[in-house]
Symmetry: C2
Subunit: 345 residues, 2 copies
DNA sequence: CTGTTAGCGCGTTCAC
DNA sequence: GTGAACGCGCTAACAG
């Protein structure tokens, strides 16, 4: 802990009301009050009613810390995302938050900025104050995830791991469809603009593209690894052109947007000179010039599902497994026919 | 609490190491261990060293809940934002998170989706588990904020309130400059596309625009209130055209982008037929067609500052006041000369 | 169905 | 400089 937060000059203590206050007020013991408030049916209907009324009147709020001590449950779930400012995170965070609230959990969201060291350290420091973890686009290896999972249930999003439940977007069919479409448009060499090496999905995506290209009997090559940023997308323009490919599939929309704007700045016409596609369907991908062809996943649902599985694991249900979500190819203006029809086939 | 999370089937307890473990391990009392770990100099240099070593060896992690009980401090700060999926939130969240981590706090981020009822209820339910609040773009009235501030220090972002410390972006100079520029380009009637009624900044922005327009001797009118969404921006196109204004300043970039895309879909040329500007400089505002003229604020710094002020308040420093941050007008392609010079003056 | 007792892990008196 | 004892608010175990 780099810094301590001292307590000395306490703020207006304004003592909060406890179960003892309401117990005294009603004329029962504290444990009865506790039961009435949280254990359904363990107390007579009449006194339960009186206790609940008193609690409402006095404005009682359970102290989570006090509750966590005997139960070992904090009522908090941590969601670790690679990059908060990546629009991909939004929908996931929103879905997770909605579901967490629904089950009475507080959600703590934290980003690790694509840094696996930071990710591990955040998990370690958060571990004592949460009941479980959701790791979105984790950069950790299986051992590191296992370490975390030893103390708390872990659900991963877009990352498979033997020690966690995994919620995945199945990009394979959409990528295959995309490659088929590109081939049909006459593209006979396509380039995958790769993402971070430590990204599990990066490898998956390239594998799917490669296989699809083979089936379509067109060439596929990849450049990378690259950081998943706009800047990286921009800087990749020359490398992409050097490949001689007429179509590019970028690791994600952020990179695709970087590449697209760089291409336009360089005087290229999209898609006449060049087809570009991304993955994710982030905010903004529909209003680039031209709008970006991309692949959408139900990130909102996936975020919610992850929380649901953490909750299930905490309730004693199985905490390993995989759940796949379908994705959808969105054809937009950034894809067009190959520039020089070479008459393949 | 809509739902309880039952504890019964506890997960591999895997008892965590406590100060007692390390105390026994070293051969001292628990209180000495506690002191050595957190009270500088209250224990002999030698034993302090041994205790710290033991703590490290055993992998000791303080139990925040147990700590919170006697101290009343949870080490957590809540950040409430209007809309997580609005890119405006990102930078603020990121800055806040960075600063929170720096001071050893855990940050809980939660959105209330522009709903003041939800905002209040979130604050109420979070109150017992946090040390303080940051309310970003709060939709609450002063009384509601005062209620929250009675229990925990509150810092507001882009919202002034008598019972909280306020971190504000000062849009007035940039708006004035923008209006002056528009006037110089020949626009003699401009329209403010208003945001939500409950938004404090909405009123501020309109006031600044109105005053600047008066000074420039051009006409300014406003339409609204509107929800701060892309859809609202799109739907406003007709209303905006009906005003006869040749330039629009939107409440924020999201709405501006909605308006811009709707205008283009309707066959209008921007900025030849119409100048459009936003406020916020969100992700995406630089790659619309044409790029959006907007006003940028140091949201990252403001988020960090808010946390700093919560921390300061918790340390007994003053918890009322105002801190203003300068903003910057970014002229981009969406602004041009007025379509039909009417030869004002 | 309900009251009593004990203890969660830690900080903090108060003695020594 | 250090240890023993108490209590934070709540739940759990054990009576009754």
């Amino acid at each position: 802990m780099p810094n301590e937060h001292p307590a000395p000059p306490r703020r207006t203590p304004a003592r909060r009301v406890t179960i003892y206050d309401i117990a005294k007020h009603v004329g029962v013991s504290a444990s009865t009050a506790s039961r009435a408030l949280h254990k359904p049916g363990r107390v007579s209907k009449a006194t339960e009613e009186r206790i609940k009324r008193a609690a409402a009147e006095l404005g009682y709020r359970a102290n989570p810390a006090a509750r966590a001590l005997p139960t070992g449950r904090t009522g908090t779930i941590a969601l670790l995302v690679a990059d908060i400012t990546n629009p991909v995170s939004f929908e996931m965070v929103r879905g997770a938050e909605r579901e967490a609230e629904k089950h009475g959990y507080v959600l703590v969201t934290s980003e690790f900025r694509e840094d696996h060291v930071k990710e591990a350290s955040r998990a370690r420091s958060l571990a004592p104050s949460v009941d479980g973890f959701v790791l979105a686009s984790s950069r950790l290896d299986d051992d590191a995830i296992a370490t975390i999972a030893a103390l708390n249930p872990v659900v991963t999003i877009n990352r498979e791991s033997p020690s966690a439940f995994s919620v995945l977007a199945d990009h394979e069919p959409a990528l295959r469809e995309l490659v088929r479409t590109l081939a049909a448009e006459g593209h006979d060499r396509l380039c995958y603009l790769g993402g971070p090496e430590s990204s599990w999905t990066n490898a998956k995506r390239w594998t799917a593209i490669e296989a699809a290209a083979r089936d379509e009997q067109i060439e596929a090559l990849t450049i990378g690894p690259n950081r998943p940023t706009r800047e990286a997308g921009q800087r990749a323009l020359d490398a992409v052109r050097d490949t001689g490919a007429s179509a590019v599939i970028a690791y994600n929309d952020i990179m695709a947007i970087g590449l697209l704007t760089a291409a336009r700045d360089a005087g290229l016409r999209i898609p006449e000179d060049f087809s570009i596609t991304g993955i994710d369907d982030i905010f903004g991908s529909d209003f680039t010039c031209p709008p970006l062809t991309t692949i959408a996943a139900p990130l909102d649902d996936m975020g919610a599902a992850a929380i649901r599985h953490v909750h299930a694991a905490l309730s004693g249900e199985r905490d390993r497994g995989t759940e796949k979500y379908p994705t959808q190819l969105l054809m937009r203006g950034s894809v067009g026919p190959a520039p020089q029809p070479k008459g393949r086939k």
